[in-house]
């Protein structure tokens, strides 16, 4: 029976496994939440699938149910934009339309949405299911966990955006890059751990990532009738994994050391569209060649950087404490359109570009746990995540700042009808410090260049003098806020 439960649970996990990165901050289960994911050598739970899978061997066979409620209060407040910086309607009469740049902005009054602040205050809740089972094999433990947004059966809410002036065409807002505005999708992990020696454990787990390939072939018989077209789609979904490897070495009873490696990952979407129009041909003097226009839409959602984490723990009687340092390789960051943050449509010069590379970061995570009585524990956790995002004084608007996390947790073991249970509770508070950004006008793309002339008379356009931009981040913004989270779980040991 136990095996069936485990196998059924694994099937469920695989069938739903996509992932999001908020649990990297918060922890995948309540036990990880209690210490802000800082359990690197002690205190295993199914959440250790992410924290350090080598800790899984310390687990007993179990089934757990987790509840998490996040209450964010984050805001991006835009500074007032000088009205002269709006793009006037006469851009249509200018030679801007005949330039070789692919991107052309719209007159400000014609933008679909007015420029506005971003407020993140919608509570989000998740229900999680975790399982650990060793198949009665000594020194081995397998485990899996999945977190589902309670908006289920709306399984996923994904939205992409641009981080520069192009977003004006769409939402005309700014977005938090790393923290606070996560995709509302299911998240899950699966892993195994083995005690190679009595004092040495190895673990391996995987976040299952997916790559979606879509190909849309569209035929438009009449380009002037834009609400009629014929379309066929091919879509394929392939899975990949984000490997997480961990090790714990316990040289002394009072000292343990551990290390974890997590590869970079993201959910990839390779969109490809092929457009065929009636009576539209290649410019060939000798042959009639129908022109097929191909467009690519590469997306990379929920990027997580490659991470190297090392830490140690000390145990003194009923108190344990741990400290971990995590190195994150952010320079490889890819935004939601699968580009590096410094890759723009109208390229910057190399020297300017360097200013906008993301930086690698060292994050610090620690906790302390105090056991009192035989069944109760009390935990405190703290973590500091410096921002990888350089000053956004140029065209890009990656909104982020240093984050301080604090947590509190309590654990209570009890028995009912001779069955063992554990009840965990956790509360977390994350501060994203306020970051005020003033744009450097010299680094902002003048979307209506000063040397624009009228198509009709080749006359200079005085309204184009100076900076005109629809970049929603211009002339600046301030961002920050807090996220409060609570969680609870019940573990049944079988």
């Amino acid at each position: 029976m136990k095996r069936y439960i485990f196998i059924f649970s694994l099937m469920l996990l695989f069938s739903l496994n996509v992932y999001a990165n908020q649990f990297a901050f918060q922890g995948y289960d309540t036990a990880s939440q209690q210490v802000l994911n800082s359990n690197i050598v002690y205190g295993g739970s199914v959440g250790s699938l992410y924290g350090n899978p080598a800790l899984l061997t310390g687990l007993k066979n179990q089934l757990s149910v987790n509840l998490i409620l996040n209450i964010p209060s984050l805001k991006i407040k835009l500074m007032n934009k000088p009205s002269q910086s709006n793009v006037p309607i006469s851009i249509y009469d200018s030679n801007v339309g005949n330039t070789k740049n692919n991107y052309k902005t719209l007159p400000t009054v014609e933008l679909m949405n007015k420029r506005g602040d971003t407020t993140v205050d919608e509570p989000v809740s998740f229900i999680g299911i975790g399982i650990a089972y060793n198949f009665n094999i000594p020194r081995l433990q397998l485990a899996g966990i999945i977190q589902l947004p309670i908006s289920f059966p709306e399984a996923a809410v994904l939205a992409t955006h641009y981080n520069d002036e192009r977003e004006a065409i769409f939402s005309n807002r700014l977005y938090f890059t790393r923290f606070g505005q996560w995709e509302k999708v299911a998240a899950g992990l699966l892993g195994v751990s083995y005690d190679v020696l009595p004092n040495l454990s190895l673990g391996l787990s995987a976040q299952i990532t997916i790559t979606t390939k879509t190909h849309l072939a569209i035929y438009i018989p009449d380009a002037s009738v834009q609400d009629y077209s014929l379309a066929n789609a091919d879509a394929s979904i392939s899975t990949g994994i984000r490997p997480i490897a961990g090790v714990v070495y316990r040289p002394y009873e009072w000292l343990s050391v551990g290390a974890v490696f997590r590869d970079e990952s993201c959910v990839k979407v390779d969109g490809n569209g092929e457009l065929l129009l009636w009576n539209y041909h290649e410019a060939d003097p000798y042959k009639t060649i129908p022109k097929r226009t191909s467009q690519k839409f590469p997306l990379a959602i929920s990027y997580e950087p490659r991470e190297y984490e090392v830490g140690f723990g000390l145990r003194f009687s009923r108190v344990t404490t741990q400290l971990a340092i995590m190195y994150q390789e952010w320079p490889l960051y890819r935004d939601q359109h699968n580009r590096h943050p410094f890759v723009l449509d109208s390229p910057m010069d190399k020297e300017t570009e360097k200013k906008f590379h993301f930086n690698s970061t060292f994050n610090f995570l620690s906790n302390v746990e105090w056991m009192y009585g035989n069944e109760k524990s009390f935990m405190l956790g703290a973590a500091y995540y410096p921002t990888p995002v350089p000053p956004q004084i140029g065209r890009t608007n990656y909104v982020d700042n240093d984050i301080l996390g604090l947590s509190f947790g309590h654990r209570y073991d009890f028995r009912v009808f001779d069955r063992r249970f554990t009840l965990n509770g956790a509360a977390q508070l994350f501060f994203m410090f306020k970051r005020i950004v003033y744009k450097d006008p010299k680094l902002i793309l003048d979307e209506f260049p000063d040397d624009s002339t009228t198509l009709l008379s080749n006359s200079p356009m005085l309204e184009a003098k100076g900076l005109q931009t629809n970049n929603p981040g211009f002339p600046g913004y301030e961002a920050g806020g807090v996220l409060f989270s609570i969680g609870a779980n019940l573990i049944y040991y079988f």
């Binding site: 339309g97 380009a223 005085l462």
Partner: protein
Amino acid sequence: MKSVKFIPVILLSIFILSCEKKEGVEVYEDALGYYECSYDMECGSGRYCDEEKHICTIDCVTSKDCVFKLSSPDEENTYDCSPCGRCIPKGTKDERCVVIKDIRCSADEDCYEAYKSTNYKCRKGYCAQVCQEDGDCKKSGRGFYCHQTEKLCYRRCFRDLDCYLHGWQYECILPEGVNKEENEKAKVGEEKYGECELRAGGVDYGRDTNPSKPSYKYTGIWGFMMNTAVRTLHVPLVNSQDTVSNNYILVKIVQKGEQLVFYEKWCSIDLRNFNDENPNWQDLARMITPEQYSDNIPINTHRVLVVPEMVPGAKMETDIMLEVRGAILENPATDPLPTHYNINDPRIIDQDRDGKPGMTTFMLGVLTGEVYNVQRWWVKYYINVVDARHWQGLLDHGSEQNIIDANPKSLIYDTECIKHPNQNHSYFRALKLCEPDQPCAASCADVLYHAKKVKGGWLEFEWLYDENKKPLENE
């Protein structure tokens, strides 16, 4: 003791506040390089000076652009676009928008008084704008350039054609020793520039002027609106495209014996797409014909061989005027036009002097880019005299056009042009601007003023010919 409890909270708050980051330097508007102004006239044609910000700006080009002023896009548009680009309620006048041209002066103070700006100096009896480069003079109007030594805007020319834009009363005075005929044919960059100056004796009506002949009453300076509608076949995406070429022309009509000769200076060409048969039709891409195109069309001439008495209802017709643009053909009427299959065809010329072959037009819309054409076309007027100052009538015309190159190349395609089957799309109207025995100051700007700014005016564009149309009073 109670206050001790708050210490951690206070410490935490201090910590959080101390972690606040400020990046960059506050942006000040005066550092953003906007062009400062005090009056609309400093901002050039179609622009106004924002009273609060003191920068040149524009809200609209046509009344359609004023939709942003409405509380809902579905509301009826109650706004017009003023000549200075302000959205104003329909039926009102933009009092701040004053278009002044050729202010007479005897000293710089007169110019300051007129423009309230030190940017104008008195030159040759007229106020001229101070400039540093040619671009500065575009505000003064079409055909103005910056004088290299005086640093004042002036009417530059290298041939008489350049001056007719300002009116038939101007002629091009070249530097001493420059041969007028040779200079006119000079390659781009090799021409010698002079200045358009008022011709002694005003407009040149020739030597055949004879007030006793019936043709005399027809002579003078006229503004023409001429619409020629064609159907272009094999256009990408849409296959067939109907277009009317809405042309404005400053015409000098002179007597030649018993006959009349029309000398036509082209002011502007506006290509308008239409589709009579499909009410849901959408304009996907349109051609813009730049001023440089019409500025380089040579003077076309028509003749009226039989001239009736000038009475309302009189009818006459011109001969056929045939013109080739963008190429020089040995036999203009019969030689095949150059094509894109041989872009090196020596018959192709850079007629509009923009460094590109043929004549350049711009495509806007779903297809965007530059298209280089050659064209052969002809036209004949059937004139109905409405009164002494107003004519109208249908046209007979034909056109053949080849795209010889384009940027991007995807805009190169082979088309075929036929006259639009609805004859009423091709017509003309003419409005007399000057009598032959009076001083004349009419220019292309006046023709375009009547065309674009006089509501219901004789030269206002209408899609179809209306033989019952009546001129406005006092027009």
